[in-house]
């Protein structure tokens, strides 16, 4: 069994279920930069064009989770858990109209975990 790089809280999974009913299959892409950056963005599966250098970090509740490879350099040793909070981010992320915002909670992997991480997939 590999150690996963990404996971999701029950609360966030419930929001994913709710959004999936409305929009079909979903995906996440971790954003960088200003304003609402440094947060996970949730899109309908085919709405965001995944780039040839984006990395697939894993699946969360049936959704692929991607990150730009240069940004991933700084996440190599971190587990990312998708959570959700009240709030009004402005972006094209699908949960915004619900008055909710997905967020990334990070945790540094232990040495044991680092030795057994799921291999990354290049898109």
């Amino acid at each position: 069994m590999y150690v996963e790089r990404v996971s999701v809280t029950e609360k966030a999974a419930a929001v994913i279920d709710q959004l999936r009913q409305q929009h079909g299959d979903l995906m996440f892409h971790q954003s960088g930069g200003c304003c609402d950056g440094s947060s996970p963005m949730c899109f309908a599966k085919d709405d965001f064009l995944v780039g040839s250098r984006d990395l697939l970090l894993g699946e969360v509740h049936g959704c692929s989770f991607y990150m730009a490879s240069d940004q991933f350099e700084y996440y190599k040793n971190m587990h990312v858990m998708i959570d959700v909070t009240q709030g009004r981010g402005s972006s094209f992320s699908l949960e915004i109209p619900l008055g909710l915002r997905f967020m990334s909670i990070s945790r540094i992997f232990t040495d044991d975990e680092l030795a057994n991480l799921r291999p990354l997939e290049v898109c």
Binding site: G32, G33, C35, G37, S38, Y74, L94, I96, P97, R107
Partner: protein, 498 residues
């Protein structure tokens, strides 16, 4: 002194074709204030139908507006500037309620800068002209500017009125009609601005459609009748905006933030004078606008020979940052713009602690006694190294990451070791050193012995992943118009080919 809450209307509408129009589906959302979490007003939750109506209204006005002489467009922009100036206090206080930032800043920076920005673009559109070249004795080439028509603009929430102005002023000056979507956290101040200036523009030239990114922003960015999109925000949405623009083969300008280095060389401490005092303030400017600035000097690089003494003096200045009621002129830092922003900042403070960075000051939320339900974070300084996430990712909060360097080579390496390139600060008494760094740093704006100045007429934009385009300068006009080449022959003779 403290300022009274403005008389916000209980409900605002979209501004389309010179009229205040209810959203097609009759839906609204609540706009809350980060100062105390209270509801300010209800704002339209628009969708593709409203965007479509606005784009149509804009095109109806586009032909006539594009033909208004530059002299008249100049006059109109000057009138807009004067009207904003007359209403400075109202708009500044509204901005503070909408965004959370201290009124000290909205009175001194946001609104006066917006006024000057309209005047700048009014001035340059009057003064500039196309180009003419003699190609040969019988041929003259004319480069003539024509507006794009209707453009879409998506505004961020950190300086709502000023960022709307940065986009509106060049677009209007160049003769375009605009469909503008304010950020959903901060729509009301822009709507109040529109109420104040509405009568100065012909109907349909300025259209404002409110709503959420996926519901209103996306239909605007993908609309086949929009000729350009301007966006300020983050990288994933920036990519999405480019992707949408590729469907219609239209240009975009993007401003996507940064992780700006602020470099302090040992010569700043050569004397204990006003310049040293200025440099200390220059470091503390990370707390300006609660750190919610794309060019926040969020990485301080300090030469090791002066680190202890310089940092001790900076920390004393940071300790003196006055928090409290954003509506008091003495308050230096207000609320973060939204709950999720507040939570994100606290998460990053946790990441910094996990990464082993040392908290030199702050490192937690601020309990505001006046507004216990607002979103306040203490100014926070970490000491760590440039490979940490808190040195590489934009936190968009009052969080400074400090590291040291030995010599120029190391300073340059750290400064450029970032995915972004929006701003940078260099502090030194050595002009040669300054020159080396102004040219060596890969960023669109290098502040030399100053920081966070945004005068109209000084271009602003990014290298690397910080974006495309240069705002705040007349060159932005080029992003809002076509160049038409008219090639005129005065030669009566045929070519002789056929």
């Amino acid at each position: 002194m403290s300022f009274q809450k403005p008389d916000f209307k209980p409900q605002y509408e979209n501004y389309i074709g010179g009229e205040w129009v209810a959203p097609a589906d009759g839906d609204y959302f609540e706009n809350t204030s980060p100062i105390d979490g209270s509801v300010i007003a209800r704002v339209p939750r628009s969708n593709a139908n409203d965007i479509d109506m606005a784009v149509k209204a804009a095109w109806k006005a586009a032909d006539a507006w594009g033909k208004v002489p530059a002299s008249e467009r100049c006059n109109i922009l000057f009138r807009i500037a004067a009207r904003i100036e007359e209403n400075q206090e109202l708009l500044a206080v509204a901005e503070t309620w909408d965004n959370g930032k201290a009124v000290r800043e909205t009175m001194a920076a946001d609104i006066p800068l917006a006024v000057d920005h309209f005047r700048y673009f009014g001035s340059v559109i009057r003064a500039e002209a196309g180009q003419v070249a003699d190609i040969d004795a019988g041929t003259v080439s004319m480069e003539i500017h024509e507006p794009l028509g209707v453009v879409g603009q998506i505004i961020p929430w950190n300086f709502p009125i000023l960022m709307a102005t940065w986009k509106l002023a060049p677009a209007l000056a160049a003769g375009n009609c605009v469909v503008l979507k304010p950020a959903e956290q901060t729509p009301v101040s822009i709507l109040m601005l529109a109420e104040i200036i509405a009568d100065l523009l012909p109907a349909g030239v300025l259209n404002i459609v409110n709503g959420f990114g996926p519901e209103a922003g996306k239909p605007l960015a993908t609309h086949p009748d929009i000729k350009k999109v301007a966006f300020t925000g983050e990288t994933t949405t920036g990519r999405l905006i480019m992707q949408y623009a590729s469907e219609n083969l239209i240009p975009v300008t993007l401003e996507l933030g940064g992780k700006s280095p602020n470099i302090f060389f040992e010569s700043v401490m050569a004397e204990d004078d006003n310049f040293l005092d200025k440099a200390i303030e220059g470091l503390v400017l990370f707390a300006f606008n609660q750190g919610e600035v794309c060019t926040c000097p969020s990485r301080a690089l300090i030469q090791e020979s002066i680190y202890e003494e310089f940092m001790a003096r900076c920390l004393k200045r940071i300790e003196a940052i006055q928090m409290g009621d954003p509506l008091e002129l003495t308050t230096m830092m207000g609320a973060q713009a939204s709950n999720d922003q507040y939570e994100k900042i606290l998460n990053y403070i946790d990441v910094g602690k996990q990464e082993g960075a040392e908290v030199l000051i702050g490192g937690e939320a601020y309990q505001n006694e006046t507004y216990p339900n607002g979103y306040y974070v203490k100014p926070t300084v970490f000491k760590g190294n440039n490979k940490m996430r808190i040195f590489q990712e934009e936190i968009f909060g009052p969080v400074l990451s400090v590291t040291t360097f030995k010599d120029e080579a190391e300073a340059m390496e750290i400064a450029n070791d970032t995915l972004y390139g929006l701003g940078a600060g260099v502090w030194t008494r050595d002009v040669h050193q300054m020159q080396t760094f102004t040219r060596g740093i890969q960023a669109g704006r290098i502040w030399c012995n100053c920081y966070h100045a945004y005068p109209a007429g000084a271009s602003f934009g990014g290298y690397k992943k910080s974006g495309i385009g240069r705002e705040n300068h007349k060159m932005m006009l080029g992003h809002y118009r076509h160049t038409k080449n008219v090639l005129m022959s005065y030669d009566k003779n045929p070519l002789g080919f056929f």
